[in-house]
Symmetry: C2
Subunit: 154 residues, 2 copies
C-alpha cells in the first residue's frame, strides 16, 4: 500500500530512525478533516511499545479530525544544517504512517508516565502527582505504526 | 469554514506569525493521498507575495498527493523550550491552511531566487548559475494562504 522512497541514496539507517523516535523533541501529527484539508500540528510524544503516544485536551481540532478518519502521519525532524554554498540542507527525518486510537486505563497512565520520564527527568515524583490530577482532563492517543520511512542527507 | 483556536490565551500576535513565516528554517507540508492518509514532510520554503513557495523534484509522493487534492496545511515551529518542572513546553507555531498549485515562468524563477536569498545569503551569484542549470529539473509549488493560526505558550 505504501510507496518506496524515490531517492534510495537518502534512505536512513534503522538506528537513525530509532534515535529520532526515541529522542525527538517534538513531531508533527497530520490528520485529515471532513472538509478534506489536512491539519498538521507539533506535539510532544513518546515512543513506547513500538507505538507513538501523545496527549491532548479532551476536545479540539485534532480529536474532531481523528473521529472523522483515524489515518495519520507523524513526522520527526532531527538535526538540520543549512549549507549556504551548496544550496542544500543537511537533515534527518522520519515519517510514520499509521492509525490513531484513544487509549484508556493502564495504557493511558503508562503513556503519561513515559511523557514525564522523557520531558521531566528528575521530577518523576511531582509528575506522578500531576498525572493524578490531570488524567481526567486529558486524552491520550496511540498511533499504531504501519510504515516508517527515514530520510537523511549528510 | 475554518475553526477558531480553542485556547484564546495562546493565540499568537500577527508580528510573531510574520516572523515565523519569514524566518522559519523549515516547515511541514501536509497533503492528503488517494488512500486517505495524510503525508507530512519537512521542507525549506520562502514567504513572498503573501504566499508560501517551496521547490521539489519533478516527481514524488508530494506531487502525486497534490494532483489528487490541492488542499494542504503548512506548519512552522519557532523556538521551543521544554520546562521539565512545569510538565510543559514553551513554543510558538503557525499553521496555514491553503491551496497548492504549481507555478511556472517568472513566478517560478522569483521563488527560486528568494530561496537562494533566504538560505544562501552571500552566494547569490553562484545561486543564479545554479538556478539556470536546475530550473528544468525542479518544480515550484505556491501555497495560497486561506487561513493562518498562530499559537504560543510563553
Amino acid at each position: 500500500m505504501f510507496r518506496e522512497i524515490r531517492r534510495k541514496d537518502r534512505v536512513a539507517d534503522p538506528a537513525d530512525i530509532d534515535r529520532l523516535l526515541s529522542g525527538g523533541e517534538y513531531g508533527f501529527l497530520a490528520t485529515v478533516g471532513p472538509d478534506g484539508y489536512p491539519y498538521s500540528v507539533p506535539l510532544s510524544f513518546v515512543y513506547i511499545n513500538g507505538a507513538i503516544y501523545f496527549h491532548c485536551a479532551v476536545e479540539g481540532h485534532k480529536l474532531d479530525n481523528l473521529a472523522y478518519s483515524s489515518k495519520v502521519s507523524f513526522s520527526i525532524v532531527g538535526k538540520t544544517q543549512v549549507l549556504p554554498d551548496q544550496f542544500a540542507t543537511e537533515y534527518e527525518s522520519a515519517v510514520i504512517f499509521g492509525t490513531a486510537a484513544l487509549v484508556e486505563g493502564d495504557d493511558k497512565k503508562a503513556a503519561l508516565e513515559a511523557l514525564i520520564g522523557k520531558y521531566s527527568g528528575g521530577f518523576e515524583k511531582e509528575g506522578a502527582a500531576y498525572i493524578d490530577q490531570a488524567i481526567g482532563k486529558t486524552k491520550v492517543v496511540r498511533i499504531g505504526i504501519e510504515r516508517i520511512t527515514g530520510k537523511r542527507r549528510k
